[in-house]
Symmetry: C2
Subunit: 449 residues, 2 copies
């Protein structure tokens, strides 16, 4: 018989009691990093911060300086390979991984046996929250290489006792065929690759709704938190699509995870403490519900712990009750933007994910698009290049009337949602390249045009 | 302080005592598979074999029918996905993998928690025998996907407590750069990819002899057992190159492994019992030293155990003492051929690995070649297409005299080693494609020409 919770007492705890526990953990962790990790000692001294200055959770936000990726990179360059925040002798490390920087030196992670045991347990709680059970076959359709995404999922699913199936990198056709052969019930991958596998299954003459899958756990991109994408994944595969993940620096990175109610991601605050702060002031906490920058803190990891890590993500938080009974707060819309990915078009802030959301709401459009930015006479031009629905071209290319009407609806809806007048350009179905891993839909030609 | 052995008592046991233990394990395993696994019951009944018929190790060879890959494939097709030799309820499986068939349905492996614990322990013994220690950083430069190679190495290295670094699939440049950044001391990969990484390191202006590597563990191909390839790997990287591996069906597949004496691979007979039998009669044992087909048996695995698995590999065995003190027998030349990969050219048996070995012995040749087979007037023609040494083209393309002399020496040496008159065709250095994973050097155009 299935239990609802991985750990009932922990997950349904009175939030006020949990907050006291979090504060105790924060204080202990601050003293640990200050006393044991030379990088933090130097960093905090430089910022005139001392752990004794934190008496409340608000003190924590207001007084502890945030860490950026850049600070980690510089520290590792100065003290290679792992920086002076490792927390154990390097020879006790058992797994080396890296951040997903595509160029240059990544930030390296070294995990001790103790850290991995800890990570396995938290990842198990997270995947269990999303619905993974011992009887499942969990297909992990990501490269198990440098990057942490697949590994965390593997470790959590192993801990639950599910069967893990790892078809390896690339080769969408193999991923699909093996899914049916092996009988995978859970798919872990990026939303982009899951959509690609959907196309592949159909092109192989398979009916994805009848696949053995019952659950998708989507990582690496905010897709499963975007209503249109979530709906496309759920209807396409006949599954529940669960949004999940923080960022690899925060491994166990699945501490933002959806429960079966799917009302946004629960935030496992007692493992990775998550704050929403002003985008332009990491020392300023925001009231519940306001949109801001996400800052993360490891409460228990002793190896390479991150204290107030500036993720660059944007979200808002809610403490409203969830029918699942878990008393963790939620990010009701998941992570919906990047503070630093935000586009500014003629003075208006536009998130690419908002554009994607809006396009998915327009009847008659296909599933892939680009946002092309150019500059003319010192003015930014923004063009949406979008595929039209395959059904429009049944019996030949769609007529001008049809496209004109679609153009006007698309333009109006985009303007209503984003406040920006976009140029609209239609292209045939399947003419835009699909992405295997992370989608790169913004094509910025402003410096070259 | 380093110990020499992972398990001194086991590794240095009197071979006669070990043989008694092996016989006991074989009898127990035969009764287990016959009574618990319907596939074996049916197979043995059909061959009129019963476990009670085995009283000696010779009985085992003479009376137990061998298993082929084809038999496993047919069984899994009839009883998908794992066949009736699983040995535990499918829901107790925790890892799904597959054989490395490049086309069609692979054979699937499902491992239970118990099997993985067992595999980890044996893989640790094998890697420890090859010289891996807790202080090492083990870079596993293979795809961690369907196939077992990387996974076994990972599990064994984790068990030893070494740090595992997995740079992922493809991208030779990243593998090399990260090796230097992370400080990898052990490289696990195919000989082919290790040679490719060597070229990559040089092209990046790095000196491979000064890399952090001290040890290479070579899997997936017989390369590190071929003297010329072993020497190229050792001199190129400044490492000890260890040959290792059986085949994925026999996971823990590293039970053939070199010790630091490097006098061929030790055979861990008390885990995977290994026989050398006549190539045309799997029921006929061969005397020590004779070249024959290799047949493997799991003595302890309870999930998907292989009993007398016909690997298709060719080797010979020696029980001569090894200076390391281990009392396991050895395959002094490793696995040097495939019974079924053997080429028959004008009535002569030729192993591609023998050609490779001969070419590496000719001064003036480069490091890559092809064997091109064509047919003219009902006669097989065999052409060796081989790169010449880069030093020959210093100051312009090599002269005809130079190439004529090289041609004659190559032709004569190949004929002496293989008994075949090959056509020789020279191509410039680096003009033949390098292989990332498994080399495919035989180009058979006999059906099309």
């Amino acid at each position: 018989m299935d239990q609802v919770y991985w750990n009932r007492e922990k997950e349904t705890m009175d939030p006020a009691v949990r907050a006291q526990q979090i504060l105790r953990d924060i204080k202990e962790q601050l003293h640990y990093v200050y006393e044991e990790l030379p990088f933090y000692r130097a960093y905090y001294d430089e910022h005139r911060f001392h752990p004794d200055m934190v008496e409340t959770l608000e003190d924590f936000t207001r007084k502890v300086p945030v860490l950026t990726k850049d600070a980690l990179r510089l520290e590792q360059e100065a003290h290679p390979p792992f920086g002076r925040y490792l927390g154990f002798p390097a020879e006790d490390g058992v797994h080396v991984h890296g951040s997903s920087g595509t160029t240059g030196r990544p930030t390296f992670y070294l995990f001790s046996k103790q850290d991995i045991a800890y990570i396995r347990d938290v990842m198990a709680q997270a995947l269990y929250t999303a619905g993974v059970r011992k009887r499942d076959v969990v297909q992990i359709s990501t490269d198990l290489g440098m990057f942490m995404g697949g590994w965390g999922a593997l470790w959590g699913a192993e801990e639950i006792g599910a069967a893990c199936f790892t078809p390896g990198a690339g080769n969408a056709e193999r991923h699909v065929r093996m899914m049916y052969e092996v009988g995978s019930t859970v798919l872990v991958t990026t939303p982009t690759f899951a959509l690609r596998l959907l196309d592949t299954a159909r092109s192989l003459g398979l009916d994805p709704v009848r696949s053995p899958l019952r659950l998708g756990i989507f990582i690496g991109e905010p897709g499963a938190g975007i209503p249109g994408t979530k709906a496309a994944l759920e209807a396409g595969w006949g599954i529940k699509a669960m949004d999940c993940a923080t960022t690899s620096e925060m491994t166990p990175w699945a501490t933002n995870v959806e429960c079966e109610e799917r009302r946004g991601v629960h935030v496992l605050q007692d493992e990775v403490y998550t704050e929403i702060v002003a985008k332009d002031d990491p020392q300023r906490p925001l009231p519940e519900g306001e949109s801001g920058a996400v800052v993360y803190t490891h409460l228990r990891r002793k190896g390479q712990p991150m204290i107030r890590f500036w993720s660059g993500d944007e979200s808002r938080m809610s403490t409203a009750a969830c029918a699942c009974g878990r008393t963790y707060p939620r990010l009701p819309d998941g992570v919906y933007g990047r503070v630093d990915d935000m586009l500014i078009l003629r003075g208006v802030n536009v998130y690419p994910s908002a554009v994607q959301r809006a396009l998915l709401e327009v009847e008659g459009l296909g599933s892939e698009h680009r946002i092309v930015l150019t500059r003319r006479d010192q003015m930014d031009e923004a063009t949406i290049r979008v595929e039209y629905d395959p059904r429009l071209s049944e019996g030949g290319a769609p007529g001008d009337d049809r496209l004109k009407e679609l153009h006007d609806r698309t333009h109006a809806h985009l303007r209503a949602v984003t406040g920006v007048r976009f140029n609209i350009e239609f292209v045939p179905p399947q003419s835009l390249e699909r992405f295997d891993v992370k989608a790169r839909r913004v094509i910025d030609q402003r410096s070259t045009s």
